[in-house]
Each structure stands twice: as C-alpha cells, then as structure tokens.
C-alpha cells in the first residue's frame, strides 16, 4: 500500500493497519462493537492480501489462549475484543502479561453487563487495570491507525516484551467514518521490522514457559513483572518519538491542550478529548482560563508527565467513564488523586462519571460539567464523584 488519505471506518483502518504490520496470527471471537475489525481481517486473509492464520476460536478465553501460544513461538499476534469478551478472557489476559508475551489487542471499549449493554464506556478495561498490559487510549481514527504500529513496536521491543492494548471507544470510534492518512508499506517495514523473539518456543533451543512458583519465588517473580511494566515507559516514549519523526504525528503519554496559562483543566481519556477541546475553545473565547489534559498512556501510569502537566493549576475536573462501586470515585480520578496527594501546588480534583453505556455527552454537557465542576472545586466540594446526567 502506498501513502494515501482516505475516508474509512475506523474498524476498517485497524484491520488495514494489522495487515500492513504483516501479522502472522489473528485469533478472535466476534463481539459487538469489535466485529467490523475481525470481519475485515477475515476478508483480507481470505483474499490473500495478508498471509496469516486467522483462527476463528470458540470463545474469547480461547482467543487469548491461542494468542499466548502464537506469541510464545514468536509469531506476530493480534486480537480484538470488547466488554464481556474481555471479562471471559481476563484470566488469560493476566497470564499473557505475566509471561511477557508480546501481542496487540484493539480493545473496543464497551460497558459490562448487567444490565446487558453493547454501548461504550470504560468499565471493561478498568476491570483489567492491574493486569500488567501496556494500555493506550486513542481519540480518533488517525490515532487508532497510528497506534496499531506503535503498539507492535512497543510490545516487541526486547526491553519491553509486554502485550499492548489500544483502547478505542466502541461505536463512537469503531463505527465512525473519518479521513485517515495511511502510510506506505516501506515506511511501516522500516518502523516495524520482522519480529525476532529471543527464547521463543522451538525444538532447537528448548525452554520451559509458565512454570509454577512456590512462595519463596513468587514475590520475586511479581517484582520482576512490576519492573518490566515500569521500565517499559522510556521505550514506549521512544516508539512514539520514532513514529513522530517518520510521519510528523506525535504522541505523548500525557497530552495537553491550551493548558499553559490555564487556571483549571478538564481531564479526559479516549474520544472525549476531542469534544472537550471544542468546548474549551468556546470557553476560552468567553475569557475562561481552562485547558484539557488527556491521559493517553494509562499503564504504565505516566506519573511524572502528569504531575508536570497539572501542578500549579487550581482545579482539575476529571471525567471518568466507569464506576468503582463502593470506592472513592471513578478509576481515573482515584488514580490522579493518589498521584497528587500532598504534592506542593496540587490542584483540587472534582470527579464526574459520565457517558456510561454510550449515553451521549455533548458539547453542552461538557460545558455544564466544566462550569459546575469549577463551582464545586471553588466550594471545596471535592469528595467522591457525581454521576452526570442521572435521571430521577
């Protein structure tokens, strides 16, 4: 494929990116709203445009298990799921990270049952927050396309060797038709050379993987895992910087918009960033000193970059898209409060949970979240969270 700009559904762009990445194995089970991704991949494989094994598994549990087997022999491996699918595969999702098996997942974020809902929020990914995967959030089609390549590059980096989930909002992004700039295959090959895994399963050099850990070694194994995730950070940044050099499209773990002189900021993760920016532009025109802080890298958590972005601001209004039932707020706000606890110049945090199961959060809603949130912050009303738009 040559460099081309085209209008394309984001799911199709993901499948095209996976094909350009010359993936060897795709194992997936259909679930809304991920289906267009895997349908298009099946077509690409069926038409011989990508030479890969498409493994149509019996469940998401088997999808992740097949991915583990495929990654263990050193094959470039891709999967995609949502919601209940992620819940079903969650056992193996944790093991994939613990065994340091590189693979990429497009996670089309969708709410968890019950009640059953096919629509978008972040309750699925938050369930596996502590699994040890690298978790990236994207906002639009271009970011999604780009980050498929970046994710493979990070995942397969010998200094990283971790699975990577590219989180995109179900329907809001997966089913959106947007202009996306495709890169040419030569550039992709330069950025993402053939994967050569050290210590892959092969009869020529037998290794044992997934051994059993007695208490005298389990703690050390967990520390090793923690260091693995933590130490991946500079390599993640490097992968994005290299992509930026080649394409001119730059990504950072924490991204800011009009925050330099902002007194307070709205914090988002995922596709809400775009709406937030529009509302901030409107508020700026009215004289409000407000900006947007976007968490692109959720795990490993970009502590230093986040602090650098917000210390000195008066308030943060954090918009979560999941509830931690019985906890102190949404998962993002809880994380951010912890990151800022007792830091000099720490802003106060007001937390909203909004847009559960795809309930639309429009520009008007963002405006009221920002306005109300600011009032709450100034009044010192910063405990817990507010479920935005709750009826009755």
């Amino acid at each position: 494929m040559g460099k081309v700009r085209k209008g394309v559904e984001v799911s199709i762009a993901i499948a095209d990116a996976v094909a350009q990445a010359d993936v060897d194995v795709i194992a997936a089970y259909p679930i809304t709203p991920q289906t267009h991704i895997v349908e298009h991949l099946s077509e690409i494989v069926a038409d011989g445009e990508l030479d890969a094994e498409y493994v149509p598994v019996d469940s998401e549990h088997s999808a992740m298990s097949v991915c583990c087997g495929s990654a263990a022999v050193g094959a470039r491996t891709f999967t995609s799921t949502s919601s209940q699918g992620l819940a079903l595969m969650s056992e193996i999702f944790f093991i994939a990270a613990a065994m340091r098996l590189p693979m990429v997942m497009a996670l089309a974020n969708r709410s968890l049952s019950s009640p059953l809902s096919i629509w978008n929020d972040h309750s699925d990914v938050m369930m596996v927050r502590d699994a040890g995967w690298i978790c990236i959030f994207v906002e639009n089609g271009q970011e999604t396309y780009d980050n498929i390549f970046c994710a493979f590059r990070m995942s397969e980096d010998p200094e990283v060797m971790l699975p990577v989930a590219v989180n995109l909002d179900g329907f809001i992004l997966t089913h959106m038709i947007e202009p996306v700039e495709y890169e040419d295959d030569d550039l992709i090959r330069r950025y993402l050379p053939e994967f050569k895994m050290k210590n892959a399963l092969h009869p020529d050099h037998p290794v044992s993987m997934g051994c059993f850990g007695m208490p005298e070694i389990y703690t050390e194994a967990q520390m090793n895992r923690e260091m693995g995730v933590r130490n991946s950070y500079p390599h993640i940044v490097k992968a994005w910087e290299e992509w930026g050099r080649l394409t001119g499209r730059h990504y950072r773990p924490v991204e800011t918009y009009r925050t330099d002189d902002a007194e307070y900021c709205i914090v988002t993760m995922g596709s809400y960033g775009e709406t937030a920016m529009e509302v901030v532009d409107a508020l700026r025109a009215e004289g409000e000193k407000v900006g947007v802080v976007k968490i692109r890298l959720w795990r490993p958590f970009p502590l230093d970059e986040f602090r650098a972005a917000v210390l000195g601001k008066k308030h943060l209004i954090v918009v979560d898209r999941a509830i931690t039932f019985g906890g102190q707020g949404g998962p993002v706000a809880t994380e951010l409060r912890s990151a800022l606890y007792k830091r000099d110049g720490a802003p106060t945090i007001v937390n909203y949970v909004a847009g559960l199961a795809g309930r639309d959060v429009s520009r008007k809603d963002f405006r009221s979240i920002i306005t109300e949130g600011r009032k709450k912050a100034e009044a010192g009303d910063t405990e817990g969270f507010t479920l935005y738009g709750l009826r009755g």
């Binding site: 060897d24 194992a27 030479d51 298990s65 290794v207």
Partner: protein, 310 residues
C-alpha cells in the same frame, strides 16, 4: 495382542525427554505415560500443558523436567494454546520467517482439564483442524487438588466430593466418554492407551504424530494416591483395567474402529478383580458390582461390534 512395532524394552527409544528428579508420587503411572509419550514423539515436539499434577511436579521455578520446549498457561486451555503455537509456526514457516520443519504440536491435560473445564477449548481446537495431538491423561478425578470427582470419574467411585455414604454410592454418574466425543468431531485419529501396555501406547502416539490434522489419545493413568492402592501395584491395575474390559485399548482411524488388544480367554477377568482391591470402590456391594459388570460387558460388546463392522 495385535503386533506392535516394538516388542522388547531393549528396542524402545533410549533418549529421555522428561528428566528424572520430578516430584510425582511414588508409583505414578501418569508420569510414566508422559515419559513414554515423549519417547514416541522425539525431540521435535512442543508441548502445551494444563495446570495439574504433571505441571506442578515438573516445573517448580527455576527447575524444569522438560527437555523439549514446553509451555503451561492455565488449566482449561492447553488445546487452545497448542493450536496457537501450531498456527504461529505454520504462518512463519509459510512466510519464510523460519525454516520449515515437521514439529509435533501436543496439548496435554488431565481428565478434569479435558472432560470438564477445558472441554469447550478442546472441542474448538479439534473442530478447527489444527495439525496437533491432544493427550488426555485420565486418572479419573482431580488428583492434584485432592481426589475430587470429575465427569471422568467412574460410576461408584468414592472421591472427596462424591464420597460414598449412607445415602450415596459415591460417583452417581457414568464416566463421560471423551473418546467417543473426540470421534464425533470427525478427526482422523483417536485412540485409547495405557502405560501398562507400553508398546501399544508408543505405536499409537507415533501414529498420531504421523497423522496430518488433529489426533486425540486418551491414556488411562493409574493414580495409586487417588485410587487408594499400593504404589507398587500401579502397572498391575492398568492391566486389570484393560483385561476386565473396563478400559479397552482401541483406535479409530478416519472413523474406522479397531480394538488393538483383545484380552484372550485366559487373560479376560471380571470387573470385580479390577475393582476389589481399590480403596475408592471398597464400599461397593456385590449387586453394585454386578451392575457395573453388565454395563462394562455391554459397552465392550458394542465396541467389538463397531470394530467388526469395519
């Protein structure tokens, strides 16, 4: 006994791919089965194994008994994991990313991993037609966690979750027939085996390896700990199981049945001889045993008929 390609221990592959020093119980026939299976497969083999006895006894970090590449991932997914290994290598070999080579892709699990928790995952892998072998080591209960019943536990056996009691015979259900379920997938090779008949076992694993597509081999693995017998009697009980027709040795090649070992009139024994010495069946009455005998005879005759029809 049908002719086997090897008929003397002297001619069995000498190389050991499962190292000594593992932590299996004394008299474990399952670990013997693993050792024989690996001898039949040879070094160009990758194994994905379920959580269970064999995984625990062979891989305490940082040690391993495996001299071939081996992966353990979870309890219910060895069939899916090995199908992923097969798919990965197949793609990479086809694309010239690695030199082409014949490799045995082998999933292994106990009866719990096979007939219960990993049932769907196994069925999926067999149905998809991967070039793989799945070996079930059937010791007829969850032995690793302390002898709890599985769907492969035979009728009447007392286990820690199907205990015999005043109002219970022990296991109330019939043993799930995994072999017939494998056959129903229409795969090219299905067989039963038992390490008490090592030459028969070696031949069947070799056949499974030579068969393109999925193969399923179900190995009765006597567990002295769980069956409550002496460790020194493990091999003998395997023979009793087969000679009483409780566990017939047969294979199904492209749907064609063949009993590979028919106990001669001299060797044929009633099931009572197989059941009586085992602690797990100690509570059974003569009437219970009669009932088991009738069911066993019925099933064996059905098998002989299937075998003759071909």
């Amino acid at each position: 006994m049908a002719k086997t390609s090897v008929s003397s221990p002297k001619n069995v592959e000498r190389a050991e791919y499962f190292a000594p020093g593992h932590r299996a119980c004394q008299g474990c026939a399952e670990v013997l089965a693993v050792r024989l299976v690996l001898k039949a497969l040879g070094k160009d083999t990758i194994v994905a194994m379920a959580t269970g006895c064999m995984e625990i006894i062979s891989s305490p970090l940082p040690l391993t008994s495996w001299r071939i590449p081996w992966i353990h991932n979870a309890f219910e997914n060895p069939a899916a994991v090995i199908s992923g290994c097969e798919a990965g290598m197949k793609a990479m070999m086809r694309k010239g990313k690695m030199p082409a080579k014949k490799i045995n892709f082998v999933g292994m699990g106990g009866d719990g991993a096979t007939a219960d928790i990993g049932f769907g995952s196994l069925s999926g892998a067999l149905e998809r037609g991967h070039d793989m072998i799945y070996v079930c080591y059937d010791n007829e209960a969850y032995m690793n966690t302390g002898i709890q019943r599985s769907s492969s536990t035979p009728y009447g056996a007392s286990t820690t979750t199907s205990p015999a009691g005043k109002k219970s015979i022990g296991q109330r259900t019939q043993k799930k027939n995994m072999v017939e379920i494998a056959v129903a997938h229409g795969i090219p090779y299905v067989a039963t085996a038992c390490p008490s008949f090592p030459f028969d076992l070696l031949d069947k694993i070799k056949k499974a390896s030579e068969t393109p597509g999925p193969a399923y081999v179900h190995i009765l693995s006597v567990c002295p700990t769980g069956w409550r017998i002496q460790p020194s009697d493990a091999i003998r009980y395997g023979r009793l199981a087969v000679n009483s027709c409780s566990f017939p040795l047969y294979e199904v090649v492209n749907g064609k049945y063949r009993v590979t070992y028919k106990p001669s009139d001299k060797k044929l024994i009633p099931v009572s001889e197989y059941l009586s010495g085992q602690g797990r069946f100690r509570h059974l009455t003569d009437k219970d045993i009669e009932q088991i005998q009738a069911a066993t005879t019925r099933q064996y005759e059905r098998l002989l008929k299937l075998s003759e029809e071909e």
